[in-house]
Symmetry: C2
Subunit: 319 residues, 2 copies
């Protein structure tokens, strides 16, 4: 019902309470109750005794309605769980892991957002896209890391107009600075995955970062000077993700890897592979089918680098 | 305080309420309250106006006190979470995954006990040991399956006097029938494990199984005609587990594998490896360091079998 009301107000013109009441077959009091609920969700709706209701500003909302309007997928994001605030959308998904495959969890803000290896992730209210996809593929746990590649590739393609690239394994960067981080988690038996949660944090309208990370992090707003509605970007990510995931489930990784390599900022560049016992420098030459980075260390020797074992640093600054 | 009272009653003689009250420095009313709580936990304590309290039957309890009394470990099982009934001790552990490394979860009965691949597992009240160890090793997810071997080996050694053997990967059998199933689950990022839950179900005092599984399942009682107190068996499993786990964390798998192979019922026997596309028959010749079963299929060809990919059946009945 709220969605039907939103659709009537979407033109930006005033619509009388009586007209809404008549069209939707509900009482004037019910209309008022829904308008109140919409305002609580953050919609900027003004009311006038004579003219009715009007949606004042084009909303930058990421509620179920905003995301699903015009979403061109068959599974991914067709079930949306939106909350205004949560500890993290990954935790939200864990708590609701009985929801179906492809459920999308979003929040305006995360109070305990996390990056890989427990690192903190800042998630200011409305400043970005904090989303998690709940996936239920029939795979052994060993195949889970490939999901991370897919997520990186999907986000990168969704942000292609901004010149986004992937920093192996799954940071998305613009001009060498991180615009998106991905945290994939799983619950699994030894033989099969129970579920995978693919969390993505995209910095959209954040206007600046504190000093210590200002040279490493960026947002679409910092890069372009403009703000962006988030729901269309969420749709784009979801629409890019779905077909890649479909190929993955059919074991057709070749195209995915090729697509990934094209957008991977490390390929062809010098990287330093940091083991506990020391560092090896070489040239990143490709991505293996299991997601490992292939590094040519000279003399026809190649090493295959898993993200868990080592960290990789470019020899040209952050990336 | 309850534990101190239990210790005083453990002799089986009557102890007066006044004596308990004096020794522990608590009021007679407090003594009574603790006795009441102990009875609710299932302790069979009789009371007599003149003589005091007496622990009537040697209890077959698996509460924290019963398990920890005499437990010779430094970490494993030093924190016990006991509930009378739960859906499954693995789920109980998931809900309390903030508890420390080595926490042991036990229950008298599970209402939704599960085996591998979602198969149902019967857990009648008091009929067996339904326990889960919460582990927090600093390892990548790819090393998790080895934990399953360790658990199988620990249970098998704890039941060695009953002639227990391991059916690869992690069933424990007596005379070819399953006496213990192990379900290992994990929560992980792609690079590191958040936690592992090692669930073990041991059939102890179950007197019979329904027809359809009677030829596949057994219990200590069925094998020996006697009942057993469960807490000492839990201690033994935990005490066998701890040093194996320590070796594992130090990457010293060789001894573990050798110990496993000695008790593995499959080694040296014909097995049939069932792939989706067909079956291969060969002789199981060993266990690889990553836990895979090595099967000699003739002509110097060996295949390495992961439990997730295929199922293995002996060509001599169930095992």
């Amino acid at each position: 019902m709220k969605q039907s009301i939103l659709e009537m107000l979407r033109s930006g013109e005033y619509v009388s309470g009586e007209k809404i009441s008549r069209k939707l077959g509900i009482s004037r009091a019910a209309v008022w109750k829904h308008i109140k609920a919409l305002r609580e969700e953050g919609y900027d709706i003004s009311s006038s005794t004579n003219r009715g209701y009007c949606l004042t500003a084009p909303p930058d909302k990421i509620t179920e309605y905003e995301i699903k309007t015009g979403l061109k997928t068959s599974v991914m994001g067709q079930n949306v769980k939106y909350v205004r605030s949560t500890d993290s959308t990954n935790n939200e998904a864990k708590r609701h892991c009985d929801e179906p495959d492809g459920t999308l969890f979003t929040a305006e803000t995360q109070t305990g957002g996390k990056g890989r290896l427990g690192r903190a992730w800042t998630s200011p209210e409305g400043g970005g896209i904090w989303m998690s996809l709940l996936l239920k593929p029939l795979i052994p746990p060993s195949r889970a890391p490939e999901i991370t590649l897919i997520a990186g590739l999907a986000v990168c393609r969704a942000l292609e107009e901004f010149g986004a690239q992937i920093k192996w394994p799954n940071d998305v960067v613009i001009n060498g600075k991180k615009v998106c981080g991905i945290l994939t988690e799983m619950s699994a038996e030894m033989e099969r995955v129970n579920y995978i949660i693919c969390g993505m944090g995209i910095n959209v309208n954040i206007s600046e970062f504190p000093g210590e990370i200002a040279d490493k992090a960026t947002s679409l707003r910092i890069e372009t000077g403009k703000s962006y509605a988030r729901a269309p970007i969420i749709r784009r990510v979801t629409e890019e993700f779905e077909p890649l995931y479909g190929e993955y489930l059919k074991n057709r990784l070749k195209n995915i890897i090729a697509g990934y390599e094209r957008l991977c900022v490390n390929i062809g560049r010098r990287v330093s592979v940091l083991y506990d016992s020391g560092a090896v420098t070489g040239t990143a030459v490709g991505i293996a089918e299991d997601g490992r980075l292939i590094v040519d260390i000279g003399g026809e020797n190649r090493i295959y680098v898993s993200s868990g074992e080592v960290s990789v640093r470019g020899v040209y600054g952050y990336v």
